[in-house]
């Protein structure tokens, strides 16, 4: 019976909608909105500060203590800047795109459980803005909508760099969404529910209940890689590769419109860190040495600590890794992550039935891996033999001089 009730949804609405429920909902919404905005402000400062440390610079240090108010100052400055709409742009879509970037980033946070369940005046309140039965699918749906913001911004600008960026971004984001979905399936299989609260509850208790360990690390790694690609963060930030595309999709945006894209990007980083924590790292689960009162605030502390750890991880990646080439990026998504996540899903499913199925499927997956490697080889050979079938991206006419040098043979030629 208990298991039935756990799955029945947010108990807040059990008595229907009335004004107390509405007030609680309103408080939750405004609270989470404020937290999101504050967190983004801090995140931008944090990223700049950490990156400067990694590059032996000082970073922002003028506005406020340790430069903490730098983001605020930048934001206020942007309000006073000229708001330009390029003449070549599609004005309606150009204005619409920032909304489509900000709103999904904000909504994803709604389904993240950031604490346990507290009881106030006989009402149990989940520390989570919303707990719909399809919770985790809402995250995927919103990240699917997030594609539009970048794609439309790139197209509507009527300029070359944003257009190229928009094409790249949308192809990249949809490529990694499939891998993202498959790893989520693995988690859901373990939990038997799509609700984020149920996913977190099933991981509670001990560190070896976390999906990271229960599912054998691989899904978590794939999910993190896919999230980095979804949020267009380094090393997968070919979308705004400044050496090739100036500013990427937001090149033509100025003033507060640009600020909203910037905001959405960092908000995505934070919310997706929170989603990683929810799916694989037990969410608010953690050690509580303070007894009853600790059970209220310690989950929040653990959740915040874990999320900050991932935010730091993303910043660290930006500081440490060079940008990945576009073709390698697409190859990683389609040829590595999708097959590996599918194979791992089967292995986990096998072990959930029993050990023999698991071992058998593991062997089958390895055999299939060899088959796929063979297919890679065939595909690569095909490319060599018959390049014209699908012209590769970025083909340019070769300068005659270089071609002559290359076709004349002998790479050593010219060297005396």
């Amino acid at each position: 019976m208990t298991s039935l009730f756990v799955a029945a949804g947010d108990p807040l609405y059990a008595s229907g909608l009335n004004w107390i429920t509405l007030v609680i909902v309103l408080i939750k919404i405004i609270f989470s909105f404020a937290v999101c905005m504050g967190a983004v402000t801090l995140m931008i400062w944090f990223e700049r500060k950490v990156i400067s440390d990694m590059q032996s610079r000082i970073g922002p240090n003028r506005a406020g203590p340790f430069g903490l108010l730098q983001t605020l100052a930048d934001g206020i400055k942007l309000f006073f800047k000229e708001d330009l709409i390029p003449e070549q742009s599609d004005r309606f879509v150009f204005k619409l795109a920032p909304y489509l970037s900000v709103v999904p980033a904000l909504v994803i946070f709604a389904v993240v459980p950031f604490g346990g369940v507290v009881t106030i005046a006989g009402r149990s309140i989940d520390l989570q803005v919303a707990d719909p039965p399809i919770g985790i699918l809402l995250v995927l749906a919103m990240s699917a909508i997030g594609v539009y913001g970048i794609m439309l911004a790139g197209w509507a600008s009527g300029s070359k760099y944003p257009l190229l960026s928009g094409v790249r971004a949308s192809a990249q984001m949809i490529s990694y969404e499939a891998a993202l979905g498959m790893t989520v399936v693995t988690v859901v299989m373990m939990t038997g529910s799509l609700s984020t609260r149920a996913i977190v509850n099933s991981q509670a208790g001990a560190i070896w209940h976390w999906n990271l360990i229960r599912l054998g690390f691989i899904p978590a790694i794939i999910f993190i890689i896919a999230v980095i690609a979804e949020t267009n963060r380094p090393p997968f930030d070919v979308v705004e590769a400044e050496s090739e595309l100036v500013g990427g999709f937001n090149t033509e945006y100025s003033s507060i419109r640009f600020a909203l894209f910037y905001l959405a990007e960092f908000m995505n980083t934070i919310t997706m860190s929170a989603v990683i924590v929810t799916l694989f790292f037990g969410g608010p689960d953690g050690y509580n040495p303070f007894g009853h009162y600790g059970s209220i605030f310690m989950p929040i502390v653990w959740f915040v600590v874990k999320t900050i750890a991932f935010c730091y991880f993303f910043v660290w990646l930006r500081g440490a890794l060079p940008r990945m080439r576009y073709d390698k990026l697409m190859d990683l998504g389609w040829k590595r992550l999708i097959p590996v996540s599918l194979g791992w899903l089967l292995i986990v499913a096998g072990f959930m039935v029993n050990g023999w199925w698991g071992v058998g499927l593991a062997l089958a997956v390895i055999a299939a891996g060899f088959g796929l490697a063979r297919a890679f080889k065939i595909g690569a050979d095909l490319e060599d033999r018959d390049q014209a079938v699908l012209p590769p991206v970025g083909r340019r006419p070769v300068p005659p001089r270089l071609l002559r040098r290359l076709t004349d043979g002998d790479p050593q030629g010219g060297v005396q």
């Binding site: 594609v147 794609m151 197209w155 014209a388 079938v389 071609l403």
Partner: protein, 199 residues
């Protein structure tokens, strides 16, 4: 503790339905009246969202999520790819009719469709009342769970047949792309070589 939803005609339900219906209608009108294909595609997204809202109103929230993930997140993205990046994003000439008499035909078909809907509704005595399709009330994850059970037991054959259908779609997509690529084969390779001969 009075519940607003306890009554048979729940006002929030009506509001949600009205919102969804308005979204669908505005989107649909946008699709057919926009002169710019990109705006039409964006209106289509609004319509699909409205349908998702109606699904939620019917307690079919898995279908709502799928509606957004697949239709808005994948299919319209492909539409937009084709519209935006294939250089067809200019205003359509509405006077040119590719199919002779398509306007009058559309009118007739719409009349027939509306007539059929009215006939069906009258025959079924306009079914109204409580939700009857959400499966066992109070069960865990009612609709996802029930959907899973039906798809993976009762309709298993249809499910596996769908998989085969998807493979056919993959093959079709590749074959089409290959053909368009093969049409202008050799040209990119040939060009620089000619240049070299000329220089």
């Amino acid at each position: 503790m009075t519940s607003l939803l306890a009554t048979t005609v729940a006002i929030p339900d009506v509001i949600v339905f009205a919102a969804g219906a308005v979204m669908i209608m505005i989107g649909a009108l946008g699709v057919i009246t926009s002169r710019n294909p990109v705006h039409a595609a964006l209106s289509l997204i609004l319509t699909l969202f409205g349908i998702a809202v109606l699904f939620i109103e019917q307690q079919a929230d898995f279908l709502a999520a799928v509606q957004v993930i697949v239709y808005a997140g994948a299919i319209v993205v492909l539409f937009l790819f084709v519209i935006m990046f294939l250089g067809v994003d200019r205003n359509e000439d509405l006077d040119a009719e590719p199919l002779a008499g398509q306007r009058s035909m559309a009118f007739v078909i719409v009349l027939m469709a509306v007539g059929a809907i009215i006939a069906l509704g009258a025959e079924a005595h306009w079914v109204v009342g409580p939700h009857s399709v959400s499966g066992v009330p109070g069960g865990p994850y009612q609709n996802v769970y029930n959907l899973g059970r039906s798809v993976f037991t009762t309709y298993l054959f249809a499910f596996e047949a769908t998989a085969a259908l998807l493979v056919i779609a993959v093959v079709g997509a590749v074959v089409l792309a290959r053909r368009s690529g093969a049409a202008n084969a050799e040209q990119p390779d040939g060009q620089p070589e000619n240049e070299e001969v000329a220089s």
